[in-house]
Subunit: 479 residues, 2 copies
Amino acid sequence: MRSYHTANDWVSATALSAENGALAYVSAKRTRFVSELKEFIRFPSVSAQPEHAGDLKRCAAWLAEHLQRIGMERVAVVPTDSHPIVYAESCHAPWRPTVLIYGHYDVQPAAPLIKWRSPPFKPVMRGNDLYGRGASDDKGQLFTHVKALEAFLQTNGELPVNVKCLFEGEEEIGSPHLPAFVAANPHVLNADCAVISDTQIPAPDRPAITYALRGALNLELEVLGQKRELHSGVLGGVVHNPLQALCEIIAQLHDTNGRVNIPGFYDRIRRWDAKERAYMSKVGPSDAQMLRDAAATTGWGERGYTLYERATIRPAITVSGVMGGYQGTGIKAAIPTRALAKLDFRLVPDQDPQEIDDLFRQYIAKITPASVKTRIRTLMSAKSALIDRSHPAIAAAARAYQQGFGTPPVFLRNGGTIPVVNLIQETLEIPVVMMGFGLPDDRIHGPNEKFHLPNFFKGIEASIRFLSEISKWQGNVSA
Amino acid sequence: MRSYHTANDWVSATALSAENGALAYVSAKRTRFVSELKEFIRFPSVSAQPEHAGDLKRCAAWLAEHLQRIGMERVAVVPTDSHPIVYAESCHAPWRPTVLIYGHYDVQPAAPLIKWRSPPFKPVMRGNDLYGRGASDDKGQLFTHVKALEAFLQTNGELPVNVKCLFEGEEEIGSPHLPAFVAANPHVLNADCAVISDTQIPAPDRPAITYALRGALNLELEVLGQKRELHSGVLGGVVHNPLQALCEIIAQLHDTNGRVNIPGFYDRIRRWDAKERAYMSKVGPSDAQMLRDAAATTGWGERGYTLYERATIRPAITVSGVMGGYQGTGIKAAIPTRALAKLDFRLVPDQDPQEIDDLFRQYIAKITPASVKTRIRTLMSAKSALIDRSHPAIAAAARAYQQGFGTPPVFLRNGGTIPVVNLIQETLEIPVVMMGFGLPDDRIHGPNEKFHLPNFFKGIEASIRFLSEISKWQGNVSA
């Protein structure tokens, strides 16, 4: 056990239970915890942009040093071919369960900068919210567990369970190096359950456990036209403009009812029975709530499904970027030679990303007109994930939420993708508890991302309660 | 009359005709002429980009000073609300015809810079070609006339006809301020014919006179979606992505046969009789030649027309740019709030740009789905132009070409737009002679634009011959 800062940082906990001692410690340290979270957010750890590689390294080093200081052991920064993994553990009770805590310290790009009210990497408080890229996704949420661990270690000298931390720096680019690391280190990562806080709850007083995530497939579709940029006056109408051809191809991805046109795309999708859909309808957001969350006036998409269902049990394709032709002010009278679209597929059980990738390539080959060429590049893929809501680890999380937030959680599906959930389930064969502390209006991935600070502190409490609950758990205990 | 540089710059012309003296002068000054043209190209006079406004001012000042030095009079840099007009004249023979020479010193944007073998504003020779943005369009071609004027003035002390020069800096952005200037100064610009060298000839040994140009209409089409950028996982499939909607709208601009889908778009188009189409087929480029010029393997567009016809007597819409979503490396999982396309229409007789603009707006309003909003901005428009091939000024130009290039010119249509041609025809009521010296592979508007220097010198000779021919012309002479 290490002292944190100075002797007066200490809370005497001898007379209290470990849990109450940890909670009292959190109460006393709120200001410092927020300062530390701001320090964490200040690293522009944008994994998608190669120019930020150094920032990711520095952010990982900072996190590792922080884990070391709060009393975690075997702290390691594990290099990968791009951004490092941070590992730490505290395992002193072989007779107790082991919890694997996963989080990610990388963030989405901050562009468009002009839309931020304050700079994305200079976190500031406005009202009860802390603004900054990664504040909610995932630095703030990851940090709830770090602070819970600190509270136990600094008050009780030990954790109620064994804990292993796995914090990666490549979640936002599809975790390209994590599968190999997990597959190569099952003996290190071996645990009884995993917990991840990288999801949202409907409202501050409505906690939720996520039990389903969509999978993802990210592709680039390029259309190549004539070899030279041409004057659009002299030769407009003579060749098939690759930018126009790209738009024409994109327009063929959906029918007019918002259904994906790729043959075979829906073939393997699991049909949910009336009972599951009724449960979703009861606990999930209404169409009106979904539209409010989306800042939209009109819904869109596949008929026969609620907006919540469209976002969770139905797949989607988002055109997330198109680049082609002149991007500047005014006019440039030219036909470009190529155009590129970024496509973001979200997949559901039991769609297989590899099979969907193949179906997409076949479809594009079929609809590409003879007047242009197309080229497809797969950037990342991840399988969808489903967690059994009746697992005892989920029950422990539900009790922890009830204590931390004063109300029992609902069970929700989330349309996003956390590739590691499926990875941990399949490779380590343990359940993954998704305890989210984000809110629907956190603007994750968008400008002015924020984290609702009351949720930060409730999240720390929920994490403390969760570790205590797991310590009472009589499930399978890892060797 | 002024001395140019030094006394030894002079060529004695007393024993020669004015024309032969001028031609001998050109022969002797080739090296200097090329250096001066390079100086001219070095100004990055990109009219579309506000950051280059100063460069346009400096380029105009340089051109005015140059005209002053070669002996032109009443030289003036006329300010407009954006880029200035350069005017000069030499009118000492009221009994002779007056020629208005038009050209433009502004250029297209140079982007994408990465595709240039040498920097666009550092002109260099490779083989017989001078590379640089504006080398052909239109600095090099404009300069042929300036050097022809210099040759007469510096050898003979006067021009064979009255000459007025009108050089603008806004041609590439649709000449927004020229119409008002021309309309306000008919007494200044009054002439018997105008000559413009801003077009192409099929090959160095195949001169051509352009007798038809397409009109233009440049628009920006913006699609606005939900108010906030959204996570494409969490909400993909729930709202109509404005970038996808834009592609779907663009895809509805053409049918699968390359015909424009806008109702009424083709209604006013003039039908050409078999004789005109047979002439076009005889003198115009074949489909194979058009494809070689376009560096393309496959043609595209409206059925029932040759590629040359599609580029000249048929209209076209080019999507010249699309901006939407994430443009960086890798992945950003977001649904953008808006997307924008730049559209470049080319129109033919008797389509009216204003009417086409209206039809486009009506069509977009009709096909915009309720799930998004659209906004349209008109950037510029220009009418198409047609010149009577039997006019005596055209005959004079044909004889000049024959002498300058050693072969008679063919009469061609050009798919591009020179708004001033229609403007001069309609406002000053004089014919416009388009004596092009560019080549199809000059890559105007694209990277690695060049000017074939033998054409520069042949162009100067053709200009000298043209002014002489006009001096013999017995047509209507301006007061």
